[in-house]
Symmetry: C2
Subunit: 192 residues, 2 copies
């Protein structure tokens, strides 16, 4: 297989395994088995485990930016925020099983005191900045970052409890509640 393909295959499987089992738990052998190559070959592509981690974080960042970019056309800012909230529904099966890929990684790296913990937070920033821009465009000039953090906070909270209780109805209820909150905020802004 070509160098590029094998490398991307490794990153994709590592991404999945880090999400489903955690970064520390996942061994080189696990990833090599998933890619169906030997451990020896593995080291041709990545010298250390931290190198794979960095590559996985970079891939996650690129994936999210691509998703957000796809929402830029034919959508109003509040429709975009709603699309973000509804990720909780779209990805509910995986979230109930493994939580939020970004939140759980950031927490794990923080506890490990891992050098890449800052890169994991940069993943949060992708959504924080994007959400902040949507709120800004809606007219919440001064409060745009606070509101972005609030939406991010609630999606993290829903993911956390959805994982613990594996409860779809809970997710649906909280998504509806968050959308109602959004409508009320927008209305109270325009009512002024």
């Amino acid at each position: 297989m070509a160098r590029r393909q094998t490398r991307e295959h490794i990153i994709a499987e590592a991404d999945r395994l880090f999400y489903e089992s955690g970064f520390e738990t996942t061994s080189f052998a696990d990833i090599a088995a998933a890619v169906a190559i030997t451990r020896g070959n593995f080291y041709y592509h990545f010298k250390t485990k931290d190198e794979i981690l960095s590559a996985v974080i970079k891939k996650r960042m690129a994936d999210r930016l691509k998703m957000l970019e796809a929402w830029e056309t034919d959508r109003t800012p509040s429709e975009r925020i709603r699309a973000f909230i509804e990720i909780l529904i779209t990805n509910q099966t995986k979230i109930r099983a493994f939580g939020c890929p970004i939140g759980t990684l950031a927490t794990e790296l923080k506890k490990l005191n891992h050098a890449a913990r800052g890169e994991a937070v940069a993943l949060f920033d992708v959504f924080r900045d994007w959400l902040g821009r949507q709120f800004f465009d809606l007219g919440f000039k001064a409060r745009s970052d606070d509101l972005a953090m609030h939406v991010l906070m609630r999606s993290q909270g829903v993911a956390s409890l959805a994982t613990a209780y594996n409860d779809l109805k809970f997710i649906q209820r909280e998504v509806e509640d968050l959308c109602r909150w959004l409508d009320a905020e927008v209305q109270s802004l325009n009512g002024k």
Copy 2:
């Protein structure tokens, strides 16, 4: 040292290390070093790592129940809920460094597919049931569990982002917002 004392010392140090570094990362050697005993002696008290985990979860459960019981005297239900919300302020230093002890453990055990993952969720149930009882006593008969889950969800979300961003102002802002939400809910109930 007496058997009982050493055992409780081990549980206390394991509790701290599991919280600060995670369950999997913490080795027998780490705990033994913290307690200042040898690994060999360690096994006199606990035969397997899962035994320590169970003991730690039991201790956490007892600690939380004791805290909630102390709030039972001289407090109205809404004052009790407020006391729960303000844990985020009281424990802000540790939460910013390591997240919520219950949420992060539940998430980790779920990813490890660990046999004790259900016991970790039982820790959530302590707060869920207790919050539900407070809301029920306030008069939210049918919605009491939903509201308990909502408060739990938001405290999880705040803890998650507070850990990522190490941001005290964010915690204070969201605690105030959650208290305002509580007041509004109580008022709209009594207004009916």
